[in-house]
């Protein structure tokens, strides 16, 4: 990804994230989170993960944030009234975050950096078969095919476990949101 584009999407993501914790109105926080996720999806697509980028937009910026907005409006929340912030949690919280950031920069200073190698699609075609091989030979990256191939062969068991997890979550939500009648 060209450097200006990278910084554009990275700044969009970070400014959106900052707005989530700074803005007092929950609806404004949810909308700035959508901006943050759009920036994140841009970074994913710049890293040649096209399917993950699209899923990020559809699932996070679409479904999950609509759910958040729906709940905020259902509960009819007003903008938080100012309360006097207590000093200990604020100082402690900022201290933890600052320590984490310093640690991060310190670690990154020691780790050897790496530039991305260009993808070698023609060489990759030798290890693939069928439609994936044809597309790789044409110089296109069949992202969805490769992900699907791996997901339904090698990751079949985790996929089924995650399906059961979704079923459990669905049933759990129905049980939780039923009004308890004693």
């Amino acid at each position: 990804m060209p450097l200006p584009l990278f910084w554009f999407f990275a700044l969009l993501m970070l400014v959106g994230g900052l707005a989530v914790i700074i803005l007092r109105n929950p609806v404004a926080a949810a909308l700035s989170m959508v901006a943050s996720f759009v920036g994140l999806a841009g970074l994913f697509i710049g890293l040649d993960a096209y399917l993950v980028g699209i899923i990020q937009i559809l699932v996070y910026a679409g479904a999950i944030m609509v759910l958040f907005l729906f709940i905020i409006m259902l509960l009819d929340l007003k903008t938080e009234q100012k309360r006097a912030p207590r000093a200990v949690p604020v100082v402690g919280g900022l201290g933890i975050v600052l320590a984490f950031t310093i640690q991060l920069i310190g670690v990154l200073g020691h780790v050897p950096g790496r530039e991305s190698e260009p993808l070698d699609l023609v060489a990759a075609a030798a290890n693939q078969s069928g439609g994936i091989q044809d597309k790789l030979k044409e110089g296109r990256l069949p992202d969805v095919n490769l992900v699907g191939d791996l997901m339904f062969t090698q990751y079949n068991l985790p996929l089924q476990i995650i399906a059961v997890l979704l079923l459990v979550a669905t049933v759990g939500v129905v049980v939780l949101s039923k009004r308890q009648s004693a």
């Binding site: 989530v20 040649d48 993950v52 509960l75 604020v90 990154l108 990759a124 992900v147 985790p158 949101s177």
Partner: protein, 105 residues
């Protein structure tokens, strides 16, 4: 071209923002949104490592698999968590964490 360091730095900063939100904010819905930010920061790290670790000229797709599972678990978590928040609001008429002290020792 942006290197691996830039991606790791940006993702670490996003994680720090999410952590700050979880610690500092008192609105439980915003705390929940910040949890999502932290999960997304982890996803960005996974995708960056997957792209920068090429296997036979292709990105390492095992990293992307993990991202799919993280996204699925996050979606399930949001659904259950928001249902809990709605139930909490019905019982207490507040989602301000400082008003929810019945489990304080």
């Amino acid at each position: 071209m942006a290197g691996l360091h830039s991606y790791l730095l940006v993702s670490g900063l996003l994680f720090a923002i999410g952590l700050a939100g979880v610690v500092l904010r008192r609105n439980i819905i915003v705390v929940f949104m910040c949890l999502e930010l932290m999960l997304s920061a982890a996803n960005l790290t996974l995708i960056a490592f997957s792209r920068f670790n090429t296997v036979d000229g292709l990105p390492d797709y095992h990293g992307q698999m993990l991202v799919f599972f993280v996204i699925t678990v996050a979606a399930a978590e949001v659904a259950v968590g928001l249902a809990i928040i709605v139930a909490l609001y019905r019982a207490r008429q507040t989602i301000h964490t400082e008003d929810l002290t019945s489990m304080r020792g």
